[in-house]
Amino acid sequence: MVMALDTHGEVSDDALLLAYAAGDRAAARELTLRCAPVALRVAQRMLRDPAEAEDVAQEAMLRLWRIAPEWRPGEAKISTWLYRVTSNLCTDRLRRAGRGMPLEAIDEPADDRPAAVAGMIEADRAEALRQALADLPDRQRQAVVLRHLEGLANPEIAAIMDVGVEAVESLTARGKRALVRALAGRREELGYEDD
């Protein structure tokens, strides 16, 4: 079977999915290495609980395997489809859980030795951002994660979220303003005054 190549000369995601649907198990391995980390990353950024993020990413990938025989190449990008499914699954989980934070997701008390301080500040920064992201409304969080953490362009985010580009711009801007407000009082605490 001749597989279509993408612009970088690699076999495209579409071609791999079609190959998997035709019974090529090696294609599944390649797709897993390409797509599963993306799904997991998005889920981790939206959910905070690592175990729940893995569950969601696995579920999103399972849906990809199931849809493989019906996949129509060229109609949508697999990455777009995967972002959409993963972020929707995350939103469902957050709504069901009422945004509660599981105990196991809370970090252990930090080590106060000098060598650990830099690492602690780094971890605190990340944790502060995760906390502030978790407090955003669902759609704003989804837009901010896709734009600023996944680095996607607004048209692709619009396709993922099934809204117009202007709506994405508005959601992202409002989300950023809310994050700035939430983090404004913590700049010194998080070590940004020294940068």
Binding site: L40, L129, L149, V180, L183
Partner: protein, 145 residues
């Protein structure tokens, strides 16, 4: 934009960059589970493909559009039903007309009084004809006294 807001936004963008840089590698057991799901789904599809169609669950069967012969047959049946309806309606009309005539004929019962045109039979109908005196007294107490 005021300077402090610019600083805040710059700090936020720095946070985004930190988080992007701190991206952990996916755990191996997670990738193994995803791959195992892919294998399981592929096995299920292979088994389904090897199963005779009659044993497959109804939901797994692809929908087909009706064949030309079937559509023709159903179309003709539809016209047949419509024609049958017309014949039935005509029959009822004939029966009603004939009933009107029939009320004037000897041997026709009072049931025909319900048919339009059978006024004379309706006038002869006495609703209290079969009642005994006690029932009549209950209906018209003053007359009974």
């Amino acid at each position: 934009m005021p300077a402090n807001e610019r600083d805040d936004e710059a700090a936020l963008l720095a946070l985004f960059a930190d988080l992007r840089a701190a991206e952990p590698l996916p755990p191996a057991d997670f990738l193994a589970r995803v791959l195992a799901d892919a294998e399981t789904e592929a096995d299920l599809r292979d088994r389904l493909a090897a199963t005779p169609e009659v044993w497959r669950p109804a939901t797994a069967r692809p929908r087909r559009s009706a064949s030309l012969a079937r559509r023709l047959r159903e179309g003709l049946a539809g016209w047949g039903a419509a024609a049958g309806g017309l014949v039935s309606a005509a029959s009822v009309g004939l029966w009603l007309g004939a009933s009107g005539l029939a009320t004037g004929l000897p041997g026709v019962g009072s049931g025909m009084a319900l048919v339009p045109g059978a006024d004379s039979a309706a006038q002869e109908f006495d609703p209290f004809g079969g009642l005994d005196s006690m029932t009549y007294a209950l209906l018209e107490p003053e007359a009974a006294e």
